[in-house]
Symmetry: C2
Subunit: 135 residues, 2 copies
C-alpha cells in the first residue's frame, strides 16, 4: 500500500507570528487561508517541495483545536498520510487492532475522503488518512 506524507498540521495561537516563520523566514509558498466554521478554526496552507504544512488556528475558545492547545500547548497537531484506497487502509489498521475515530471515511466538498486514527491507539500521534478525489 503506497503511503506518503500529505501534510503536517500545526496548532497555532498567533497566525501572523506563525506565517512570519513558515512563509517569511523559511520562504514556503503560502497559498491562502481558509475559514472552517464547522471546526471553529482557520487554516493557512503552505507548500514544501513534497508535502503541505497547515497552520490551524482556533477561532473560538471551545473548538477542538483550542482545547488541544489548552492541554498540550501550540505545536504539531497531526500527520496526514495520503493513501490510494482509504477503505483498504482503514481495514488494515482496524484488523491490526488499532482504533479509528471515524468508522467510515468522511467526504469533503471537494471529493477528498478522510478518517482519523485515535492517538490513544498510536502512542500519542493523531494520524489522518486521506484519499484524493478521483480525477
Amino acid at each position: 500500500m503506497p503511503i506518503k506524507i500529505e501534510h503536517i498540521a500545526i496548532a497555532v495561537t498567533d497566525m501572523d507570528a506563525s506565517l512570519a516563520f513558515w512563509r517569511d523566514a523559511l520562504g514556503l509558498t503560502f497559498t491562502g487561508i481558509e475559514q472552517v466554521p464547522a471546526e471553529e478554526s482557520e487554516i493557512a496552507f503552505l507548500e514544501t517541495d513534497n508535502a503541505h504544512i497547515e497552520l490551524v488556528r482556533p477561532t473560538t475558545d471551545s473548538s477542538g483545536i483550542a482545547r488541544y492547545i489548552d492541554k498540550k500547548g501550540p505545536g504539531m497537531h497531526h500527520i496526514c498520510l495520503g493513501v490510494a484506497d482509504i477503505e483498504a487502509a482503514m481495514r488494515q489498521i482496524a484488523d491490526a487492532g488499532f482504533e479509528l475515530i471515524n468508522e467510515t471515511p468522511r467526504t469533503r466538498d471537494n471529493g477528498t475522503r478522510y478518517a482519523f486514527v485515535h492517538p490513544k491507539s498510536t502512542g500519542g500521534v493523531l494520524v489522518e488518512l486521506y484519499e484524493p478525489a478521483a480525477s
Copy 2:
C-alpha cells in the same frame, strides 16, 4: 530556497507497539533501528513514498527525549526540513528574528549537516534543518 519535509520524528515509549502501528498496520518499509548512545536513545527508521518517519525511544530516564515525554507525553517530536544550503537557511531564519538552537551547523558521521530552530521561537514546533552530504 527549495525546502522539503525530510522526516517527522515521533517520541515513543514502547518501540514494539509503535512498530506494530507504523510498520505492521500501515505497512511502511522498516529499514532498521539505530542505537544513538550520545543522545541516550534508539531510532527506528521507516519510509513513506516521500519522506521518512523516525521513531525515537529514550534508553535512559534522563535523556532529552525522556524529559520531553515526561513533559508532553509521547507523540510528534520534531519536523525535519531538507534544505540545499543550511548556512543560507540559518542566516535567513536568524535575520528574520527567529532563534536557532545551534549557531553553526553540526555534522554527522555520514557528512549530513543539521541545526535546530528553537521551539519557543516557532510557536512550539521543534524544527530541524538538514543538508544532505555532498555526493
